[in-house]
């Protein structure tokens, strides 16, 4: 199996829910481990930035471990990839307006905005269709399938060309995933999206 050969490291940001993504990736067959402070991220093919928690706390945790700098270096190596999930996606951008303005990793140009309460219920919790716009093996057979979302903020990339999918939440069409070179980031939780999510995670090695 191809999965066995791929080493995935999940960055511990001291803000939980690594357990689910860790379990799911391991079950699929990927060689999965948790990246704590001392482990070098160079050893991994794919690094996952997971996400539940607050933007500021997650950024502080990454900076404390010098992970912001390490990630920049990591992306320079050949055949390596980075996947952001939910908050992990938002952290890749330049800034977020969560509890005041916060700066992010800045790997992707753009910012993170809050849903307007007037238009819809916030947070957005539930299963919604993900409409992919580009042709890509990562989502083969998964177009318009339902994935699980739980968030109050959404990403607005400056370069619209990197938008991999959009999702309609009560009339608001937001960017639900991006693909930019060797970076993939998703607002939904593939590890919580049942069989559909497992299929998605089985495909992510295509970004390498």
């Amino acid at each position: 199996m191809i999965f066995k050969k791929i080493k995935i490291g999940i960055i511990n940001m001291d803000c939980n829910n690594m357990y689910s993504i860790f379990n799911t990736l391991k079950k699929i067959g990927y060689k999965t481990s948790i990246i704590n402070k001392n482990k070098s991220i160079k050893n991994f093919d794919l690094v996952v930035l997971p996400g539940v928690g607050s933007y500021k706390q997650a950024m502080n945790s990454l900076k404390k471990k010098n992970m912001d700098y390490e990630l920049l270096n990591f992306l320079e190596y050949k055949n390596r990839g980075l996947m952001g999930i939910c908050l992990g996606m938002q952290l890749l951008f330049q800034s977020s307006e969560e509890f005041g303005k916060n700066s992010g990793l800045g790997l992707i140009e753009g910012n993170v905005k809050k849903f307007k309460k007037k238009l819809s219920k916030v947070p957005h919790i539930g299963w919604n269709k993900v409409e992919f716009r580009k042709k890509n093996p990562i989502y083969s057979n998964l177009n318009k399938k339902n994935f699980y979302f739980v968030h109050s903020f959404y990403c607005r990339p400056k370069n619209e060309k990197i938008i991999l999918s959009k999702t309609n939440y009560n009339g608001i069409k937001f960017c639900s995933s991006i693909l930019s070179k060797n970076i993939i980031a998703v607002q939904f939780h593939p590890e919580k999206s049942g069989k559909v999510g497992v299929k998605f995670l089985q495909n992510i090695h295509h970004i390498l």
Binding site: T24, W127, N146, Y148, V150
Partner: protein, 288 residues
Amino acid sequence: MNLKKKKRFIRIIPRLDIKNQFLIKGINLEGLRVLGKPYEFAKFYSENGADEIHYSDSVASLYGTNNLRELVKKTAKHLNIPLSIGGGIRNLNDIEQMLNSGADKVFINSAFVNNLNFVNKAVKKFGSSTISASIEYIKIKNRNYITVANGRNIINLDPLSWSKKLVNEGVGELIITSVNHEGLMKGFDIDIVKKISRKFNIPVLAHGGAGNFFDILNIINQTNIDGVIFSSLLHYETIKKFRLPKINYIGNIQYLKKLNKKKYNPKISIKELKKFLKSKKLNIRNDF
């Protein structure tokens, strides 16, 4: 705010009441029966189309203990849909432990009633989408009161004004349970749920009373809820699929044994409920 026209998405959520690592079920949150192993039921429901699983440790908040963790870990291993945990969560550390064990969200009642400041602290640390408030209310002489410790202690506060306080503190979701209707399988109490779900711009889930698919359809159509939580309707059917655990039973074990021997009826399942709701043009996930 009327989201009806925008086609609300409805989550279907089985709730599993837990006591000492076992799945139990009572009536009006009291009078408990052991039904089986929670993770077996949770896994089955997940494969059958549940959008989320709720675990509620009904005695944790009474005794102030928190032995759910091992069970949450075990369950999270079997599940790849969201798992929300409630019961006995008193502080930030309890929340963190639940999330570290594999929970995706927590729901809290007593600790919020005891200390409203805790809501904002929890939301700031874990994000509003991780923190739900559970409101369990009881009707006495035409007045509604919120309760804590599974309906045992009555608080002089009505559910609507309590909801407002919780929403102002930034809570991410409200779970509304009518203690009078819970476990009776005679339909939901629609009035309060209607008021709360229409007033606030956060997700609202209704729990307590589902006796058949029409009860569920009714509460969805007459309110602005985002999900329905139910248990008895499912558990008493699903129990026929699994072996009863070997423990010292109290209560009406004959009833359970009899039920356990009957043939499982797949018509009473989440899959069938979803088919039914879909046929009524509701926005339901059915690509599981």
